[in-house]
Subunit: 274 residues, 2 copies
């Protein structure tokens, strides 16, 4: 892999920034706010930022770059597709629970739903994310989809994925802004209480995490090497075993990265243009 | 050009969405707010959204895709670089005036500066944008910069440009959220007065504009064809004439798009990987 050490540095940064974002979100609600609960009150609302940042930001970001981890290149593409789809499914599940929490809180407190730009953009992003997941499953995981359709849809799938991820981050920033304005009463947001500074830093961490993921996801030389996809596509329904992580077409180089022996027979149409 | 009609459809959509965003921003401040002025009051603040949306969103977006307009492919790369840099300079100038307006308003009204996440991310974006412009000028317009450095920095330049553009849109959404919460007093934001719906639509228009620009900027088959860059680099300081829009290496096809006659002698290292 070209720039393997640099890749590792970016990956470590992404993991650190993502992990810190989740820790900051937890500290925000546990230390500065009312903690976590499921009682229609503020503690229930607090699941919203925690689950969104954990699932819809951190896990979604990891799902996006999972193909790029060089030690997975010896695993079959099919297995990696399952992991990619699985992580996105976990992210979507957490996002939906997070939405239930905020609707429940609004209803219990007689606060209208869906009035803010945050809610408009955010709900659209969740719906598009679910559609992307279903469409991705049908097109790229089910065996009967023609290769020509996969080829045509892959650039759209990649673009949509990154666009939704960016939009989710923008929505998180709007949500943080709203929540700080609404909830800082004793010392208002404009007077920069400690909580405001702390949560602004959370916002910066989320942006930095998004920037690192976007960089990793758009470097062409960090793409998973080409392989025999048709072979793996045919295996759907057969389950997978340890052999899914021993691809005879790939050899591992001294830097720990897998390289392609025979790049000719290949999944050209399966690869992103980003 | 592959997909010329589709390109035109995207371009028309981008222009329409960008134009509508500017119109909506103007209607917001002129119809729903205190209009425009320079008196330390709300009318001065109102220059902030108008100039940011006009310059830092609309014009920045056009500057990003200006190389992709097929009818400019017969113009020299040098001329197009000047137009690209010129549009970004206009965008930066409007952003700076817009910042002066908001700082001036805050100071006149005794509102603290730089307390919000919107201001943290937004000011960082303006500073990075200015650095990107200066670095872009030094690396890609001055004739003495080694080609190897240009080659190395082009992917970073492209990535940074798109990242800043996306961040600016996220910042605009935060700004809209803040302003609606702060300024809607008679009927609050949560009760969805007409102004809230109108400005939420403005937010959606901005996101849609960003999505269209991002799609256009990342389609590899819509890139400007390759050409003799060294020839045009050498011409810096010589000025340019009508001949800058007649490149003998390019021929115009029946669909109005320019195509490369000789793709070998070329600016490989000058081209984005996005």
């Amino acid at each position: 892999m070209e720039g393997y050490k640099l890749f590792l540095a970016f990956l470590a940064s992404a993991l650190l920034l993502g992990f810190l974002s989740v820790v900051f979100a937890l500290l925000w609600v546990l230390h500065y706010r009312e903690g976590l609960g499921w009682n229609g009150g503020s503690a229930e609302f607090n699941w919203h930022p925690v689950l969104m940042i954990t699932g819809f930001v951190f896990i979604q970001g990891i799902a996006i770059i999972v193909y790029r981890l060089p030690w997975t290149w010896k695993c079959s593409k099919f297995l990696m597709k399952l992991i990619h789809a699985g992580l996105h499914t976990i992210a979507l599940t957490l996002a939906i629970i997070s939405l239930v929490a905020v609707f429940d809180f609004h209803n219990a407190q007689n606060i209208p739903n869906m009035y803010s730009l945050h809610s408009w953009i955010g709900l659209t992003a969740v719906i598009l994310y679910a559609l992307q997941l279903v469409l991705g499953f049908v097109v790229f995981l089910l065996p009967f989809t023609p290769t020509s359709l996969r080829t045509a849809l892959m650039p759209i799938h990649t673009y949509s994925g990154l666009l939704i991820f960016g939009t989710v981050i923008a929505t998180a920033l709007m949500g943080i802004t709203e929540k700080l304005i609404f909830s800082l009463n004793i010392i208002p947001y404009r007077d920069s209480p400690k909580e405001a500074i702390f949560v602004n830093v959370l916002g910066v961490l989320i942006v930095a995490y998004g920037a690192v993921i976007m960089w990793m996801a758009t470097r062409p030389h960090w793409k998973r090497p080409l392989e025999h996809v048709f072979q793996t596509h045919q295996r759907i329904g057969e389950g997978f075993s340890e052999e899914d992580c021993h691809n005879p077409d790939l050899e591992i180089s001294s830097d720990g990265a897998a390289r392609k022996r025979n790049p000719k027979s290949d999944e050209t149409g399966q690869r992103s243009t980003m």
